[in-house]
């Protein structure tokens, strides 16, 4: 049976003004479900390099959750906010 995992986008004093908790999401298995929760006052859109819609079809409104992303293979997935330049991003380790 799959588990559900959350990545929270929270305000942060350093650039770019927000960060991800956890920054590295571990313990995820293929078939688990992942959502991002945007707790900031700005929209965000976690996307893969070169593919904004890799994780979700639409941006996440402020104070809202994303739709569900389900990893389909083992590996490390990295993401950055497609709406904000300079976001160091985060990663998901699927094992």
């Amino acid at each position: 049976m799959a588990f559900t995992w959350s990545i929270t986008i929270v305000k942060h004093s350093g650039a770019p003004g927000f960060t991800y908790v956890p920054k590295v999401l571990k313990d995820v298995a293929v078939g688990d479900e992942i959502i991002w929760t945007n707790e900031t006052d700005q929209p965000h859109w976690p996307g893969a390099p070169g593919n904004t819609k890799y994780f979700m079809a639409n941006q996440i409104a402020p104070h809202s959750p994303s739709t569900t992303f389900i990893p389909s293979a083992v590996g490390t997935l990295t993401y950055k906010d497609s709406l904000t330049s300079g976001d160091p991003g985060g990663s998901i380790v699927v094992s």
Binding site: M1, A2, F3, T4, W5, S6, V10, K11, H12, S13, T19, Y20, V21, P22, K23, L25, D27, A29, G31, D32, E33, I35, T37, N38, E39, P43, W45, A48, N51, K53, Y54, F55, M56, A57, N58, Q59, I60, A61, P62, H63, S64, P65, S66, T67, T68, F69, I70, P71, S72, A73
Partner: protein
């Protein structure tokens, strides 16, 4: 509350950010990237810990008053392997309090069920229900709006390419809106309308964040107080305008606030009119209908009617009932999250039992299959291993008994998917449930005394309730058992078989019952009971209520045939549709239905709200021995809808018949008739409507079915029947039905 610590922290931080710059700086650094994630892999909880009991809320002076909340918090869950991968997870669940004696909800990470409600026949239920889910902890949580599409089915992305709703389902028969909910009082015989057992309501999550939720509990309690007073005097309301004006105004304001601030396609405040809630409610109110959308809170007020032949055709049956979330599109997920609780309705049945057993100890056992993401199959994944079975939030819990003691076990199968067959107890020293058949003399014995919250007739206690008779609890079934411990102290294991059907077509590729596994352990110890206890004798068995007499042939007004599909989402080849009434019955009439199953690998558990039914006849094509021959090229031997159908008395169950509110429809069997025909045109004309032919082979699927009778009495209104494999219900295997008045309107113009 430890279980919700993560949630509380988050809300506190949110408030701090709004309080001022200084506080904001402190709190921003407090919420550093190094902070541990709330959900994480953790050691699995030990098994064979003591059985937990959910807190109980009892009625007083004829009124069951309760505050019931659906909240979310962190709880510990196990993977299907039960002891290899466990994690803390955000889950949505019920908690509750007795307003007259408020106590904090237990601080535990065990996923215990909601409070056990205990009332008595004749009582009035007065529950103030709050939806306090933090939608930010769950994906696609709202029925409209947050999903960002008019369709609003749950959206998912996988592997960067596939996006869409689960299984390409369409509204309203898709997974959606899981943070919107309501409460179904399963087993109650009461009004299905307004503030009764109304599963057509959508109670939306409160606005804002704790502790500043809108509506607040104090506000709701204050505004609803006059409503409950009026309900005590004159019963449930008929119209929305019967509600206190201040409550009407508050709901209007909150729904309007949602409509003007909810996000759409990632942008707040741009919700299209077609997705707004208040216009839908306003339209319904104008039509003198009860508004569908309630925001944050909803009052439930309804009677548990005591049988009075001068006023009613039936009464509420005393027994073990339950309540659970029942919003179409999220019933399965919310029940999987644990949004269930036991509802005990006492009556003469209990008085008689306790007269015979002055010190009878009761155990309430809520069986659950818990999970936060239990449907990978709907998203293109492989068939998932079934989630493990827990009892009151623990795997293989321990029930303590004294040597020779008899206890009453009130068992609810609150699993969203699996049936549970109780097969035998064995000594724990033996291989754990490894034997295929019960030991000759089970060390712990049981007798069944009630089914689905309705006591057995003493005649059925002798047969159906004979000692150690295997019982299969489909999802939603309940059973009251008298369980007798042996004189010998020791540990004894209850072995059960999980299944979607006990009898499956041998040719089916899925659906085999699993091997026996452990449900719980009885530990017998301490001083033997004195005086000795034994199963209640026939002469002392609880008196059978007059209103539960068999539905006689002479009462039958109409006959119907329903066919549940081979898949997961149709009844009579149709999915559920908003507003379409599929069955209409006349108040205070009785009917006889044949309910068929086209599936060869699963027994869809048929459930109908408000009125129980009796099973008269079973047709099981996959039974090892047929009481009457089935000829697949003679439909008169298997299709009861044919006027030329040949009845088979050997399949008719002896009266008095057991009452049920959920019954698994026997599976179908596929017969090869290639020896008769190899193309449809060659088959006998009578068989052609049943035959399927391809590649020079023909077969006939003979449906399994049962025949039942029910009385549609005392309450008009719209409610539902559906499959209680709840993912099937969410995906369309449900019908809206209506009981209409038998009176002719008469006015002069």
């Amino acid at each position: 509350m430890i279980a919700s610590a993560g949630v509380r922290d988050r809300h506190t931080i949110g408030l701090g950010l709004g309080a001022g710059l200084c506080a904001a700086l402190v709190l921003v650094f407090a919420r550093s990237p190094a902070q541990a994630q709330a959900q994480k892999i953790v050691p699995c909880p030990a098994q064979q810990r003591a059985l937990l009991s959910a807190p109980e809320i009892k009625s007083h002076q004829g009124k069951l008053r309760a505050t019931l909340r659906v909240v979310d918090g962190i709880r510990t869950l196990w993977d299907s392997s039960a002891n290899q991968r466990c994690a803390t997870q955000y889950m949505r669940f019920f908690e509750g309090t007795d307003p007259a004696n408020p106590r904090p909800w237990p601080a535990t990470s065990d996923p215990i069920p909601g409070p056990t409600l205990r009332a008595r026949v004749g009582d009035l239920v007065e529950i103030t229900f709050f939806n306090q889910i933090d939608i930010n902890h769950f994906a696609s949580a709202l029925d409209k709006g947050a999903a960002g599409t008019m369709e609003a089915c749950d959206q998912y992305t996988s592997g960067g390419s596939s996006q869409g709703s689960a299984g390409n389902d369409k509204m309203p028969d898709c997974l959606h809106g899981s943070s919107t909910t309501n409460v179904h009082f399963h087993g109650t015989h009461t009004t299905p309308s307004t503030t009764g057992d109304n599963v057509l309501l959508f109670v939306r999550p409160s606005l804002g964040t704790k502790p500043r939720l809108q509506p607040s509990e104090s506000q709701a309690h204050a505004l609803l107080a006059p409503f409950f007073t009026k309900c005590e005097q004159s019963g449930p309301p008929k119209l929305w305008t019967d509600m206190p004006p201040a409550w009407q105004s508050l709901q209007h304001a909150l729904l309007h606030k949602y409509d003007t601030t909810a996000p759409y396609l990632g942008h707040p405040g741009q919700l299209p009119v077609g997705m707004q809630l208040w216009p839908a409610d306003e339209h319904q109110i104008a039509q003198k209908l009860w508004p569908q959308y309630q925001l944050g809170a909803n009052p439930y007020c309804f009677p548990l009617p005591k049988y009075d032949p001068a006023k009613m055709r039936m009464g509420q049956a005393p027994g073990t009932h339950w309540y659970h979330a029942h919003k179409h599109g999220s019933t399965a997920l919310n029940v999987a999250n644990g949004m269930t609780g036991t509802f005990i309705i006492e009556g003469q049945y209990d008085d008689d039992l306790h007269h015979y057993y002055p010190n009878l100890q009761e155990r309430v056992l809520m069986i659950q299959q818990l999970g936060t993401a239990p449907f990978p199959l709907t998203r293109g994944g492989q068939p998932p291993p079934p989630p493990p079975i827990s009892v009151n939030g623990r795997l293989d819990p321990v029930v303590a008994m004294r040597p020779g003691e008899v206890q009453m076990w009130r068992i609810v199968n609150g699993a969203f998917r699996d049936a549970i067959e109780f097969v035998y107890f064995q000594s724990q020293s033996a291989n754990q449930c490894g034997t295929a058949s019960p030991p000759p003399t089970p060390p712990v014995q049981w007798r069944q005394i009630a089914q689905d919250g309705v006591q057995l007739n003493v005649a059925n206690y002798r047969t159906f309730g004979a000692a150690n008779s295997p019982l299969n609890l489909a999802p939603a079934n309940r059973a009251d058992l008298l369980v007798k411990a042996p004189a010998q102290p020791g540990n004894y294991t209850l072995c059960v078989v999980r299944n979607n059907a006990l009898l499956v077509d041998p040719a089916a590729t899925l659906g085999r019952p699993l091997s026996p596994s452990v449900l719980l352990t009885v530990v017998v110890g301490g001083a033997p009971v004195s005086p000795a206890m034994d199963f209640i004798p026939d002469a002392a068995f609880p008196a059978f209520p007059a209103f539960l007499k068999d539905v006689a042939q002479s009462e039958i007004r109409k006959r119907r045939w329903l066919v549940f599909g081979a898949g997961f989402n149709t009844i009579d080849d149709k999915k559920f549709m908003d507003g379409r009434v599929d069955q209409q019955m006349t108040l205070n009439t009785a009917e006889e239905w044949v309910v068929e199953n086209q599936g060869t690998d699963k027994s869809h558990p048929f459930h109908i709200h408000i009125n129980p039914f009796q099973i008269l006849e079973l047709f099981q094509p996959n039974a090892a021995q047929q009481p009457c021959p089935i000829n697949p090229v003679d439909p008169d031997t298997f299709d009861p809808a044919r006027t030329t159908f040949k009845p088979c008395n050997a399949r008719i169950l002896p009266a008095p018949w057991v009452w049920w509110d959920t019954f698994p429809i026997p599976t179908a069997h596929q017969y090869d008739i290639s020896s008769t025909c190899t193309a449809l045109a060659q088959c006998p004309p009578a068989v052609q409507p049943y035959a399927k032919c391809s590649s020079n082979k023909c077969s006939v699927i003979v449906n399994g079915w049962f025949r039942m009778r029910s009385r549609f009495v005392d309450f008009t209104g719209q409610y539902v029947l559906h499959c209680h494999i709840l993912i099937h219900e969410d995906r369309g295997m449900m019908q809206l039905i209506e009981v209409t008045s038998d009176r002719t309107p008469y006015t002069h113009h």
